[in-house]
Subunit: 914 residues, 2 copies
């Protein structure tokens, strides 16, 4: 017997369910699930995702048996509805839609109104009693099929759509400006003209046979899995290409059958704020695409949402339908236990649900929904944690506009316009009117860009990702721009009708003001405001509560949600989270963010402050050990006082201090002017200084005289730093504060390097501790940041009391790739999928990760209880944190602002590998 | 029962044997072995090397039981000889000598004549009947003991020896110039004056108790294991510090008891030429140290060696003793089956052998002796191979002076002097009179230095190693300079009495000519000639026979020895040996040296020739692909023609060609003048060119845009190179010559990189091969030179058809160490023993080697028959070759001149791991 490739849904004969998402795709399995729940769904069937793979492997051929199964299911649909594909009297019309495992909204193709031809049109006229509606469907169908299936599209970038040209010509000829002013006759003519255009330009007759139409559309949907924008979307969202899409064939229902018909999209809760209120938009007498496309401004679904708007709401216009929707909303949320994003159509007063899926939401909404669903008893806190992408916390922590600054800007008349608050947050940057330009500028390092478009489309995805904020003139809260921005966590103001955008002139008019390409604007995605010029940002509400001890946490809803999630995360996680911090104020922040220690305190950052740089330069330029020791003795008290500050604040938490790491030439001036000034200061000649500086230059500084190689050649540097650490530790310990210093030796490649440096540290520690006459525990460990250190970790663990992975350098060395120089080819590598991700952002588990794993195992073979952490930037990246949990690290360390994200990611990892 | 720490030898009661070398040291076990062979050896005992370790571990304390064992063995000696330590009538005098597992000539301390005091002196006078001899011994003993045991030495570098000052004063007072002109009374006074000096300067009474003297001397010998020069020697010769030395206490015999006494050193064959003739030097009425110290010029041992010299020979002076020596020589060679270096003393007409050990020899002598011993049936060829250090082949292959040039120099009167041909070969360089200066200059990169000394001493070892040649004014063929130079393979002319060296003035006079520090001289160590100025060198005899097909190999003894060894090596080895060669003439040489293929042909070297550099620059500076392709099309035929030349020469042997590797900026000019010229040539502005060049600069070029990263971003480069390779291969194949191209992609870190580059190569190969209508086998493989490649070798092997380890880069990345920048600390690392060797010279088996091993195993897991080689510079280093054999590589590839060395090293590895 042939394998089952086709699953029926609706009319009480549903074969699939929500569990079959991988096979049926998100849309297909949810249609089946809705039907199972007794929700009204137009009947239809799903062709599985397996067929998609076969379709690509066999150059567009389908496996045996598929044809029969499709025919059988089509017959079942026809029987259920009492209409027949191609029937002259009572013809069945169907939609053909994609539906992959992961949602890829708008990326793939769809064909609607399929089944229309010169015969069935008559049946539709008769059935609907509306000739104009019938020809409007026919016109839309031929246009869509011509584009999607037959491929009649603009060839050149700036060419207009060939069907739109004909349509425009028709309207001009008829002296009308809107599509719906065209008569039934006009539309009939348009069908013929469209078909003629297809024939002329493609040499193809438009297929009259509805079955041929059907197979054409199925093939086109499968084919659209690999169109450019779908590939780009998958890249951005890490969706594997082999998953494939399913194809859903479903009976058409019409929201454009007059004023008792309509169509809408809704979220079971507010996807921007997470508030537990029904939220949606609809249009009467329209097809679904009209709502999303942003051409007509849709109406709010209920009175709450309507607010001050003069538009009517569905709750008022069709209260029965609204109540039915409310019931369905409850049914869906209780069943799916998550925010749902639904599409519905009202055909002549009857409600049909066309789709339900997990709704995209802002970071904040995700947090709030997860927390409130736990409170409502819909989900457990573990599930809540698993639902929140740690990066979404950024939306709680990222800066907002300073109220004073914004009020000042408004007072100065710089408020340009208001739009929809589609993606919360504050963004400020240079205006760019084109996605490709945004991408190019971002690649050149232009950090802050606001992409301004009349409306966005799937082609713009890369540019949207490159921009800090998105501003559109058209489209609602569920428009493409709004959906994508929320998912990306981008600030977005949508549907700002006051903008008059001129792509050709590369400018926009707002009233009498002209904003050109490159001008600065600021957008407030929380309030939907667009302002001229730059506006200073200020910490978010969460951040303010966290950092300002005078604020009252119980007054902030946002903070409470944050705190609740963090408390769950801390309860669940087993991985410690420390921070990388060099200065007391950073340490203070990190403690507020929940850091359990310092994983990396870079002592060299302290050297740049004030006139310390003079002493370090004096040390570097000294000709002998006596000269170096003299300069070091000036630095010692400064370093000691820094450590005193840090130890006091950390109050017993471990503090990992790394000894001097960067090559010495980084501390020296390089411009002739600075060199001259320094020469005078230290009393040497400019020539001598220049030559000394030149002698310290290196061909490959990354692989040069740095890390512990400095401390080995100049043990007096390590000695001074050890003295500063232990003097500080003893002093603070004497104040009654517990101190836990961990001295970390960088860039060790051979155990003997660590041995020699540890001897220096231990000797100084012994001296200082004995002199203070107290007891003090401390550790001496090393960074594992060279491949050789990872490979010989068993030997190094004989001396090291802890390991900390320096995955920045480890990645550089393992790949043989300098972060500073990779810009010429790394982006290309990622575009060409040679590398899945930037290995400096996400730990390369297939290569660098193997070294990490090896080092953990070798290290623990020597010392089973060896404390191991990570202090590279990967320590703040969720996927890397998951890896760290998996290989058995004790803690991750990241920048203070990443600490909450790391805590959440650690909890997720603990749940995943429970 | 206490462990056995002391082994007796001599007088038919020998307890040790040659097998106990690790325990008894070389001297001790060979004394035992000689005694076992019935060879006359003064009786004595050996304290084992184990005591040395205990001595250091316990701060100079000895284990329990040692004292008793020493006493017991001392008693046995006394009984055997019938003399007693400290006895007033018949006192025993002993020598205390070091003796480690590996020979360390002159590095450690010795005490002679021990047992003398104010009582026993009388007994010695009575026993010897020679008061002057007795006081001479006493004087020498106090001086030696005072220096070695009590530590009365010059403190400052230029201070004179305190005992020598007193001695000189005495001679002056007595109005004599030579030591042996001093009377018995003078010597008695000197003993008292020496003791007084010790008391005054050290506050110690000279020990009168002979047992106290004995323990003092034993401790001093153990202590000398860790003196500076011993440590330096061990560093140079890779002798581990934990081996320790044994101590030999032996009855004294005297070569200075009158004209029927004497002392000498001899080699069982000529250590410089390897010729099978007895070879040695002696002095009548002298102690052993007099021969080695080079103060008196010793006499040749036999008539053959004497040649034209007016000096008498031992064969003539004492024919019976000479015959006895000849018997011993035979006995020793048959027993030890190797060249022996012996010391003997004749005491009042009786021969005593004091030492035998494996003799140091020149590289050529080692080869000749090994080959001839195989011919004589003394050893098997496998043993012969194991005895030859592969580096010794250099002495056969290194250049000699061009005869024409030297004759010309002689004709110009530039022959300065003649000395002993102590270390064969030709060296030319700047004169330096001080070992420390030589070392310093060499570290600064001064390549060619001739160290000129009156005589050398162990303190000079580092300086000798730093120099290309060594020239001494004093000392014979067995002097320190000669011994060490032969071992190091340095060119050496010793005992060149015509030199009048003035260290203070930093110059030497030869007749009326003055040669100053920094002047050039040339020395011919094969003929013992010293010439003024530089003389051009020419290939050695072996090399000439190898490279010049018109010479007759059967006429060259040297070549025949070389060829015989190579034929044995090739028979034994399983590892292939290829060469790294880029140009036809290098390839030609490599074939003569026995290369079995090309393991690395660097295509970029071809780009620098003639006006090719213009085309490559044009390619680099092109703004688009069309521009690049235009330039590449000019390069293609040039590369093709190179490959044609190489394929023809290789005649069916595999040729591994690496695609473009270095960063592009290496091809561009950097001086303003060159930039200006290039701008004009390619018709662009100087500004544009400067900015383009600047844009290609990299912070860490080693980790930048190079290797396959170039071919990935610019596939047209790889395409051009593939076209050149396959066009050439097809053309040569059509000529009827077998061609085996192996295209090698550099710097692969991820399998997808290789996949993409292999696609390009395969596509072009298919096109070209089909166009030529022939069949052609080829491989596409990769270098494993990034840690990530080694770690993911299983994945890479899914695509690669061969691996070649690029251990230069692999070492750089694994250590995080740039070869260009390591000069500031790597020498320090080696001195401080953080690293045992320079990892760029010897493969770091503990780190980089683990990655190599891992990659071999992972690669073969995927493809069990994967061909794997190495083409880093380690491919020519014997210890690394041994490693390559051990981990299962198929071949090593090295520079042409290293091919014979690699063949021999490969054979030795095969024998070692049989």
């Amino acid at each position: 017997m042939a394998k089952k490739y086709v699953y029926f849904f609706g009319a009480g004969m549903t074969e699939g369910s929500a569990e079959m998402k991988n096979l049926l795709g998100g849309k297909g399995c949810n249609l089946a699930e809705m039907a199972n729940l007794g929700i009204p769904v137009p009947p239809g069937f799903t062709i599985t995702t397996e067929i998609c793979s076969e379709y690509y492997e066999n150059n567009g051929a389908y496996p045996e048996g598929l044809k029969t199964q499709v025919e059988k299911n089509l017959a079942k649909m026809e029987a259920t509805i009492g209409a027949k594909l191609g029937d002259a009297e009572n013809p069945l019309l169907v939609s053909i839609r994609s539906g992959a495992r992961a949602s890829m909204p708008g990326m793939m193709d769809t064909v609607l109104n399929l089944g229309l031809n010169n015969t069935t049109i008559k049946g539709i006229i008769q059935q609907s009693g509306d000739e104009r509606f019938a020809y409007d469907c026919y016109r839309r169908f031929v246009q869509m099929y011509g584009d999607v299936v037959l491929g009649l599209k603009p060839v050149e970038k700036d060419e207009r759509d060939p069907f739109e040209i004909i349509l425009e010509a028709k309207k001009e000829k008829k002296g009308v400006s809107l599509d719906n002013e065209l008569s039934s006759e006009d539309l009939r003519e348009l069908v013929a003209e469209f078909k003629l255009e297809i024939k002329e330009r493609l040499g193809i007759d438009f297929p009259e046979d509805p079955v041929e139409q059907l197979w054409g559309a199925i093939g086109a949907v499968f084919g659209s899995w690999n169109n450019d924008r779908a590939i780009a979307y998958r890249e951005l969202n890490n969706i594997p290409g082999h998953w494939g899409t399913a194809v859903n064939v479903q009976a058409m229902v019409y929201g454009n059958m007059g004023e008792d018909s309509g169509t809408g999209v809704a979220f079971t809760r507010n996807p921007a704020t997470g508030e537990n209120v029904f939220f949606g938009e609809y249009l009467m007498n329209a097809q679904g695409e009209d709502v999303v496309a942003g051409i007509r401004t849709p109406r709010p679904i209920n009175k709450v949402q309507k607010g001050e708007s003069p538009l009517p709401s569905l709750e008022e216009e069709m209260p029965d339908i609204y109540r039915e929707l409310i019931d369905i909303r409850k049914n869906l949320e209780e069943h799916f236990r998550d925010l749902q994003d639904v599409e519905f159509t009202i055909q002549k007063g009857r409600l049909w649900m066309l789709q339900t899926r997990s709704g995209k939401r802002t970071g904040f909404a995700a947090l709030r929904i997860a927390v409130e669903m736990v409170r409502e008893g819909l989900i457990e806190k573990e599930e809540a944690i698993m639902r929140i992408d740690p990066e979404q916390l950024n939306q709680l922590l990222n800066p907002v506009f300073s109220t004073d600054e914004k009020n000042k800007a408004i007072a100065e008349g710089r408020l340009l316009a208001k739009g929809l608050n589609a993606g919360p947050g504050a963004a400020c940057g240079k205006v760019v009117f084109n996605a490709a330009d945004a991408e190019e500028l971002a690649n050149k390092g232009e950090g802050n860009l606001i992409l301004v478009r009349i409306e966005t489309s799937p082609e713009d995805i890369r540019g949207m990702n490159a921009a800090s904020g998105i501003l559109t003139a058209r489209g609602g809260m569920t428009s493409h721009a709004a959906l994508v921005a929320r998912q990306m966590g981008k600030v977005c103001v949508a549907g700002c009708g006051a903008l008059d955008i001129d792509y050709t002139a590369q400018e926009m008019k707002v009233g009498d003001r002209i904003i050109k390409n490159g001008d600065y604007i600021s957008i407030d995605g929380t309030l939907g405001e667009v302002l001229l010029g730059e506006i200073k940002t200020t910490p978010s509400e969460t951040l303010r509560v966290l950092l300002d001890k005078t604020l009252r946490p119980e007054e902030s809803l946002i903070y409470q949600i944050y705190a609740e999630i963090m408390s769950w995360a801390d309860e669940i996680r087993t991985l410690g989270v420390r921070t990388n911090a060099d200065e007391p104020n950073q340490v203070d922040n990190a403690i507020s963010f929940g850091a359990g220690g310092i994983g990396l305190c870079r002592t060299e950052h302290m050297f740049f402050e004030g006139d310390r740089i003079d002493s370090i330069r004096e040390m570097i330029l000294a000709d002998d050990i006596a000269g170096r020791e003299k300069a070091l003795s000036k630095l010692m008290p400064m370093q000691r006082d820094d450590f005193i500050g840090i130890f006091r604040l950390m109050n017993g938490m471990p503090v990992t201090i790394r000894t001097l790491d960067p090559p010495l030439h980084e501390f020296l001036p390089h411009s002739p002017k600075e060199i001259g000034a320094l020469a005078e200061k230290i009393g040497t000649s400019r020539e001598k200084l220049t030559s000394k500086i030149a002698s310290l230059e290196e061909t490959n500084p990354m692989l040069g005289h740095r890390g512990c190689r400095l401390g080995i050649v100049y043990p007096e540097i390590t000695g001074m730093q050890a003295r500063a650490i232990f003097e500080a530790a003893c002093q603070v310990a004497k104040e009654g504060i517990k101190v836990l210093p961990e001295v970390m030796i960088p860039l060790v490649g051979h155990v003997k390097e660590l041995m020699m440096q540890k001897e220096v540290v231990d000797r100084v520690a012994k001296e200082v501790i004995e002199a203070h006459g107290i007891e003090l525990d401390y550790l001496v460990g090393t960074m594992i940041e060279l491949p050789r250190a990872a490979i010989t970790a068993d030997e190094i663990a004989q001396v090291a009391e802890f390991f900390s992975f320096g995955t920045n350098d480890l990645t550089q060395m393992t790949f043989g790739l300098s972060r500073d120089d990779a810009g010429k080819f790394l982006p290309y590598y990622i575009t060409e999928e040679i590398l899945e991700n930037d290995p400096f952002q996400q730990l390369d588990q297939g290569g660098v990760g193997k070294l990490v794993d090896m080092a953990v195992q070798l290290g623990r073979k020597t010392k089973p209880t060896l404390k191991i952490g990570i202090c590279g930037e990967h320590g703040g990246d969720p996927s890397s944190i998951e890896f760290c949990h998996k290989v058995g690290l004790d803690y991750v360390s990241c920048s203070p602002y990443r600490v909450p994200i790391a805590r959440l990611a650690a909890a997720r990892a603990a749940l995943k590998y429970k």
